[in-house]
Subunit: 315 residues, 2 copies
């Protein structure tokens, strides 16, 4: 029996440093309305969807510009119109943003909001790439390890509402999608739809000429395809794309089925909507056969995954 959910990815073009929040929000609302007009029930926005990817800039901890990139509550007055419009349209959404807690902690966070406006799930990015230190040889920094603390909520799946046919949902943020451990912990909770937002450089963010836009878009799509297949889940993976603050970001936002097939993919580096009808029941082929975890996993041989961090080569 089919369990359908019409899903959308709302790729964003660049949000330049100094962009006006109201203008940014208007872009998100326009994509939300376009998704609703197409009958989508859930739309995925990128990581850090309200601001430029500010970890490319070195800023002093006391710099008021830095503080301005963080949301101290969600929703808050500057994003309330998005929440209001979504509720009026009865459409849910995934939104990535920089979170500052009342205790002064900083996280790279995503939430999923239901069609009734309630927050269904919250996730804080675990796999922070980049460095804490300034790297003088590089034109653009990648300072996520400086500006954010590691996510402290683990990988927790949650159930969407009945009006969506009660999917098991999981969230990741950007670099997490390259780490099969993150997918597997959600796979072990029976995830049926993965929601992912990203900002990924169109060059090697750690320096060097070995990676470019085409290669990094290939990586980005491939990891979503294979991890979706290996966990028998749908996935929506959505970029902030284009030239932002002078630095290139890949596009390639995609919707992937439980076979790992790309069923929709963005073709631009700007604001662009992608759509698919996801039949959640298609997850059952993999979950009951090839990836019937109860029948086939052998955790006694997986222990190094949790018992060591770095690689140790044989002599």
């Amino acid at each position: 029996m089919s369990r359908n959910l019409r899903i959308a990815g709302a790729q964003l073009g660049p949000i330049q440093r100094g962009a006006d929040r109201a203008e940014t929000l208007a872009r998100l609302i326009a994509l939300l309305e376009a998704a609703a007009a197409e009958g989508a029930e859930l739309v995925v926005f990128p990581e850090l969807a309200l601001t430029t990817f500010f970890p490319r800039w070195w800023m002093d901890a006391a710099d008021p510009e830095l503080a301005g990139y963080f949301e101290t509550a969600m929703p808050n007055p500057s994003v309330q119109p998005l929440f209001d419009r979504a509720r009026a349209l009865q459409i849910g959404f995934y939104l990535g943003y920089a979170e500052r807690t009342p205790q002064g902690q900083h996280f790279n966070t995503a939430i999923t909001v239901g069609p009734d406006g309630s927050i269904l799930g919250k996730y804080r990015k675990v796999h922070l790439p980049g460095s804490r230190e300034y790297r003088p040889a590089q034109q653009y920094q990648q300072l996520e390890k400086r500006y954010f603390e590691y996510g402290d909520m683990g990988f927790k799946a949650f159930r969407g509402p009945k009006v969506w046919n009660a999917p098991v949902l999981g969230m990741l943020v950007c670099n997490d999608r390259r780490w099969p451990e993150a997918w597997r912990v959600l796979g072990l909770q029976g995830v049926e739809l993965m929601l992912i937002g990203y900002n990924s450089a169109a060059y090697d963010p750690n320096g060097g000429p070995a990676e470019d836009l085409a290669l990094r878009t290939f990586h980005s799509t491939m990891v979503v395809q294979a991890n979706a297949y290996m966990n028998a889940t749908w996935a929506v993976s959505v970029a902030k794309a284009g030239v932002e603050d002078g630095a290139g970001l890949i596009g390639g936002s995609c919707i992937v089925d439980p076979n790992g097939k790309v069923v929709a993919q963005a073709t631009t580096l700007g604001d662009e909507l992608i759509l698919a009808d996801a039949d959640l029941a298609l997850c059952q082929q993999g979950k009951q056969k090839m990836f019937n975890f109860a029948a086939h996993r052998r955790p006694q041989w997986y222990k190094p995954i949790v018992e060591q961090v770095g690689a140790v080569a044989p002599d």
Copy 2:
């Protein structure tokens, strides 16, 4: 500095039930010689490369046909000519075979033999697919869980010889390649070249019409690509292909680089050689940056991977 190793995959067409061992061995030796003539230093043969994929047939435990599929020593007189020819050509090889130990245990095993004829590494398949029981609704069985015990050696990387530029090598067998845990345990040992043989049905081996040759070849290639990328390793993944005992097997043998790019892939379902010059130094881009495990892994959040077997969905 480059560290080159010229590698080959020796895809085999079908080996029919009742095939003559000497004829089968002659096919392997012909591919070995062709690989050596192309300058290959290491050639990968499929899983169960000496016999038909006999787990598709129900046999009584006492059936002498079943016993005949197992090697009681490696090498043994029926395979010694392959070992002798390889040593004369100073070429190494990966070989999959059914192993019966002196204690009467049965494993789906692979070995890697060095250019001097020594056995460098041995692996027993951990992820056995299929069933223990006869499934009356199905034309072909998948009885690996009946005929083999689960591999008892874990995933142990080993170092190849200096003449190969001392690569860190890892082995998997067939279905293992779909399990990211297996790759990661080898990735945590710094693996630089994965050797994999397979026999994969060109239909859903668990019944149903949802999977065909094209889809299953896509799955097979995709998991090798993404897992190679996510562990920054080269990989050679080699099929026994074609219509064997009336049942279809996929081909698609491939050599994949540490970016997950396919650099060589078989185009037939018969005996076919694929070749590539693998620069092991290309693994360093991933190992030192994106997949610098010491810098980026967060094992405290991976515990369900070893603490539970089957999936448990949220309410």
